[in-house]
Symmetry: C2
Subunit: 334 residues, 2 copies
Amino acid sequence: MTGRSVTITEVARHAGVAVSTVSYVLSGKRTISADTRRRVLDSISTLGYHPHAGARALASKRSNVIALVLPLRAGMHVPVLMRFASAVVTAARTYDHDVLLLTADEGTDGIRRVAASALVDAFVLMDVELDDRRVPLLRDLAKPSVLIGFPAETAGLTCVDLDFAASGAQCVAHLAERGHDTIALLGAPAVVYERGTGFARRTREGFVAALAGSGVSGVALPCEETFDEVYETVGDLLRDQPGLSGLVVHNEAAVGHVLSALRQLGRRVPQDVAVVAICPDDVAERASPPLTSVLIPAEEVGREAVRLVMDKLAGKVVPMSTLLTPHLVLRAST
Amino acid sequence: MTGRSVTITEVARHAGVAVSTVSYVLSGKRTISADTRRRVLDSISTLGYHPHAGARALASKRSNVIALVLPLRAGMHVPVLMRFASAVVTAARTYDHDVLLLTADEGTDGIRRVAASALVDAFVLMDVELDDRRVPLLRDLAKPSVLIGFPAETAGLTCVDLDFAASGAQCVAHLAERGHDTIALLGAPAVVYERGTGFARRTREGFVAALAGSGVSGVALPCEETFDEVYETVGDLLRDQPGLSGLVVHNEAAVGHVLSALRQLGRRVPQDVAVVAICPDDVAERASPPLTSVLIPAEEVGREAVRLVMDKLAGKVVPMSTLLTPHLVLRAST
DNA sequence: CCCGGTCATCGAAGCGCTTCGACACCCCAA
DNA sequence: TTGGGGTGTCGAAGCGCTTCGATGACCGGG
C-alpha cells in the first residue's frame, strides 16, 4: 500500500518556497520566475504530489467534475448512447475535469443533490425528451448545463445535437435523386415516439416535410427491435406499397433485421430496394451490404457539449442551439 | 438561479445548537437527544441544507464517491456492460455514494490520479482481462477495489462474477439430458479470446470439460457479430457436423443472427436444432422463439460488487472470490 | 541619490466540515 | 450528603488548498 499522501506543504518545504507559491505555479494565476517554477515542478514530481480534490474544491469553489446524466430508457440504443458518453468523458479530461455518472433512478433529486453539495460544477444531459422533467429544474439551478438533444421548449437552455430534421430530409433527397418515388421511413420503437423523444420525432418531421418538396410519396412508421416484428413491418410495407423501392432506417438495433427481412422476402439491396440508414458509421459499415448512411457523429456531439459547458463555466456566452450538419456517405445499399 | 448555498453554521444558528451537534445529528456518531435531533432536522429541511462534498471529504478523508472503471473494448456487448454499470450506480446510491466514470483512454494513470487526489474512496473495475494491466496497480493502491470478472492471477484481489465455467457446463448438461449428442458452442468474437477475457475463456473451458463427463461430442468456436459471418459460421458448422442438434450461444449480439441463420438454412428451433443462450433475461425473452438460457445476472453482480467494496471500506474482511451460481431457465428453444 | 513602479514571493485568513476533549447536568449508590 | 458514571452538548483544532494584501528586491528616471 502506498503511504500517506503528499500535501502542498511538503512540496513547498522540499522546494524551499511558500505554500502559496506552489499553488501559483500550479494555477498560473500569478507570475513565477522560471527558476522557482522549475524547482517546484521538480519537487512535485519527485514527491509524487497530487492536489487533494476535496481541499481544492473547498477553497476554490470548483470541483473540476461534471455530471453526466444518462437515463437508460427503454428503446434507446445503448451502444450509441455510450459513444456519446464516452466522448463526453474523453473531452472532459482535456479540460482537466472528471465525470460523475448519474442515472435515472434517483430522478431529478440526484441532479439537485449533486448540485447543492457542490460535487459537480456543471451538467451534461443525454436522452432528452420533448417534455423533459429535468428541464425546469435546470433553469433555476445555479450550475451551467448543456443538453444533448432538444426539448420542445429550449428557452434559457443550451442544446446540441445532429440536425435530425435535415438528416431525414437529406435521406429523402438522396432517394429522390436516385429515382425512387415511393419510399418509407422505419424509425424508433413506438414507445420512443410516445415518450416524445426529440430526435425520433424530428427525423420524421424532416422526412415528411421533404416528401412534399420532392414529389416523392412515402410513409413513416415506428419500428420495433425484434426480428419477428421487423419482418412483419417490412412485409406489410411491401404489400401495402407495391411500388416501394426506397427505405430510410433510423433505428440502429433494427438495421440488421431489416436487411435480413428483405433478403427473406426475396428483395435484393440495392437492386429492388435501396436502403439509407441514419446511424453511426461503424454500424453502417458492418452491415451487409454496407449501408449508405447519414452519420450520427457521437464523438463530435459529445466533444461539442463539453466545449459548450466549459465555456459557460468560464463565463462566456454560448449559442443556445448548436445543430450539426448531417453528412450522407455513399455505400453499397443505394 | 438558486442563491448561495446553506452551510452547517447557518443550520446550527437556526436550530440554536453548536455546529458539531448538527454534524453529529447527521453522522449519528454520538448520541443526541430526540428533541435536539428533531429541531436540527427541521432546520435542515426548512433551510434546504446539503453538506458541501469537498469540505466533508477534506475533514473526513472520505469522498463518498467510488470510481467505476469501464474500458469499452472491441467486441464487448455494450448493453450488457451498461446493465452492470447501471446496477453499480444504483447500488452505490443505497450506500450514499456516487460514481465517477473512468474510461480506458487515460489508461492506468487515470486510476492513479483519482486515487492520489482522493477524488474517490474505492474502485470497481469492469471488463477484466486475464492479464490485465490494471491489476498490478490495484495491488499497491491505498484504496480498496473489486473486480467484476476474474484475471488469471487473483492473489490479493477481490473478484465477483457469474460462474461462467459452471454456466458452460450447465448448458452441456441440459442438452445432454435432452438427448443431444453432437453440440457446439458459439462464443465471443475471436478478438475477445485473443485478448484473454476471462468470461469467454471460462465458459469455453466449462463447456469442453463437461463434454467428456456427459458423453456428448462438441466443438467450441468463436463467433463474430455481423449477420454474414454468423451465417457462414453456422452453415459451416451444420455441414461439418452432420449430426449437430444442439447449440450453445454465448454472444448477445449474435443470438439474433444465429436464429435468422438457422431459419434461412431451413432448420427449425427447437425441432431440428436446440439452442441455449448465455445472456441477460430480456435478450432471451425477446428472441424468437424465446430462448432457454443461463441468465447473466448483471444487476446482482453489480450490487454484489458494491456490497463488497463497501465492506472493504468499512474494514471488514471479504471473500477474495465470489462466484454466482448459474440458473438455467427453460423457454421455447430446447 | 531617491522615488515610484514592477516583479516575485510570502504569510495568513478562510473555505465548510469532522472529531476530540472538555464540561455541565442528572441520577443513583454508598 | 457526596461521589461516580453516564448523557448530551459545546468549542476549538485542523483537514489541504486558494487567494488577498503585504513586502522586499530591483529597475530606470528625474
